[in-house]
């Protein structure tokens, strides 16, 4: 009897079903991912007249993306690697890329959910509306921004094996991004620090998001920020894949 290799589409469908079910059963964690951006969105209502709606929306989306990609993705991969879930899948006739592609597609859905939630609450509670083109453009840049946070998460799980250490490391990075990123936006940390924040992963993602909400105001600074995000994605992904081990032993 000839050996039958399952179709990649069928394999991917099965993996996606399982990964989306897993994400759905972890919906409490998903809600927690949404809480911080929504708190910022609602508590900064009074700032909108000063800094503008796009600034508030962009900060909220950026924080949501880093919460989901950096903490959610990295910790889920760390846990599954530690439990041997990846090893069990790898002994099946599954292309290795399909295992990670399924995870990334779930994360893509998360990026769209976070962005949509911020848009909806921004409109309903804060009264922030964008042009239809700006919404489309922002979804596009949110995916790029999400890729930065996912690749950073990938680099952390590639660099560190212990799941508890990964958990604490991602929380520290997340906290550092929020604190330094937000204060840096206020231009109160000095010129050098302000520059560092502006071109940090947080700052670059925030810049492309806020500018994409006003596409007619797209500047060379925004183009440079987009280029920087792409460089971050390449560096983080390359090192994250190079260092990544499928098991912790």
């Amino acid at each position: 009897m000839a050996t039958i290799i399952p179709k990649t589409s069928a394999v991917l469908t099965s993996l996606l079903r399982a990964d989306f079910t897993t994400q759905w059963r972890n919906r409490r964690a998903v809600m927690l991912t949404l809480i911080v951006p929504i708190i910022i969105l609602t508590s900064w209502k009074g700032l909108i007249s000063i800094v503008g709606g796009p600034f508030v929306l962009a900060n909220s989306i950026t924080i949501g993306l880093f919460a989901s990609g950096l903490m959610g993705y990295a910790n889920a991969v760390a846990r599954d690697r530690d439990k041997g879930i990846f090893q069990r899948l790898r002994v099946a006739p599954v292309p290795f890329w399909a295992i990670m592609a399924s995870r990334l597609l779930v994360q893509l859905a998360m990026i769209l959910i976070i962005t949509t939630a911020v848009f909806v609450i921004g409109k309903e509670y804060d009264g922030i509306t964008l042009s239809p083109v700006a919404y489309v453009f922002t979804y596009f840049t949110a995916i790029i921004g999400g890729a930065v946070s996912l690749s950073l998460g990938q680099m952390v799980v590639g660099w560190i094996k212990n799941p508890e250490t990964i958990n604490s490391t991602t929380r520290l990075i997340y906290l550092a991004f929020i604190m330094v990123g937000m204060f840096g936006e206020l231009n109160k940390l000095g010129e050098t620090m302000d520059d560092a924040v502006q071109w940090s992963p947080y700052g670059a993602v925030k810049t492309i998001l806020s500018t994409s909400m006003e596409p007619d105001k797209w500047t060379s600074h925004a183009s440079m920020a987009l280029l920087v995000t792409l460089v971050y994605i390449i560096i983080f992904t390359t090192t994250g894949i190079k260092w990544f081990k499928w098991n912790t032993k």
Partner: protein, 259 residues
């Protein structure tokens, strides 16, 4: 049928190392169609490394692994499609129900099974009532049954079981032996690793004893006992007058406890 055709697995000159440590050294053996083959050895002898190389989980330094005629390096998906695998510490997504885990693995092996099909599979192993429990909520014996049924869900030609009865009570262990023999009766071959000499004597048609990454004996359990029963080392470690496989194993691999 020539010898090559009679083999479902051929391992030839396999070498595996971790840095400077040579875990597997030039190992060669084959598993024939319809046989249960046991790989025995102390902790750290190289059993799991050998199995991992066969499963495609690690790339050997040199040597070849051929599964059902497919070279595992050149045709990894074909080789893995011919294998059913139960890892030493298998874990499935803790959020999924047992029925969903089976659905996932049926899918990744290219099977389209309905919910009723999967419930029938669970009924066969007396776990239909556990279908909507999460894997972690099952007892050790139940988890082993689920794990074993997943490893054979696609009707593989060779089933690899890494210490399948570790931690099971005697009833569960006997039941698992019966299931392993049932796999053979369906025409599949089984390659298992074990620390249990009783298991090797009861279940395996042939065994290989591996130590420090090398095969030091390979034959039927009885033939290995007969070959070494008069060795002074074997007689000196014998505890009850009657020479057992364990006596031979201890004499060949030494009394020192391995880490």
């Amino acid at each position: 049928m020539n010898q090559q055709e009679a083999n479902i697995l051929t391992v030839d000159g396999l070498n595996v190392s971790y840095g400077n440590f040579q875990a597997v050294q030039n190992i060669s053996f084959d598993v024939r169609k319809g046989e249960i083959f046991g790989l025995l050895g102390p902790n750290g002898a190289g059993k799991t490394s050998t199995l991992s190389a066969i499963e495609g989980l690690l790339k050997p330094d040199s040597g070849t692994v051929t599964v059902d005629g497919y070279n595992s390096i050149e045709k990894p998906l074909h080789a893995r499609a011919s294998l059913g695998v139960q890892l030493q510490s298998t874990s499935f997504q803790p959020e999924l129900f047992v029925i969903e885990v089976l659905q996932l693995y049926a899918g990744v092996y290219g099977l389209s099974l309905s919910k009723d099909d999967i419930l029938a599979i669970l009924r066969d192993i007396n776990l239909e009532d556990q279908a909507f429990k999460k894997f972690g909520q099952l007892s050790g014996g139940q988890q082993q049954r689920v794990s074993l049924v997943i490893s054979t869900i696609h009707n593989p030609k060779l089933v690899l079981l890494d210490e399948p009865t570790t931690g099971l009570d005697p009833q569960s262990r006997r039941q698992l032996w019966e299931r392993i023999e049932a796999i053979r009766e369906k025409g599949h071959a089984v390659l298992l690793t074990t620390h249990s000499m009783e298991e090797a004597e009861s279940v395996c048609d042939r065994i290989a004893i591996i130590d420090h990454g090398k095969i030091i004996a390979i034959d039927t359990p009885q033939a290995i006992i007969d070959k070494h029963r008069d060795d002074p080392e074997v007689i000196s470690v014998s505890r009850r007058g009657k020479i057992t496989l364990e006596d031979v194993f201890i004499a060949l691999t030494g009394k020192a406890v391995r880490a």
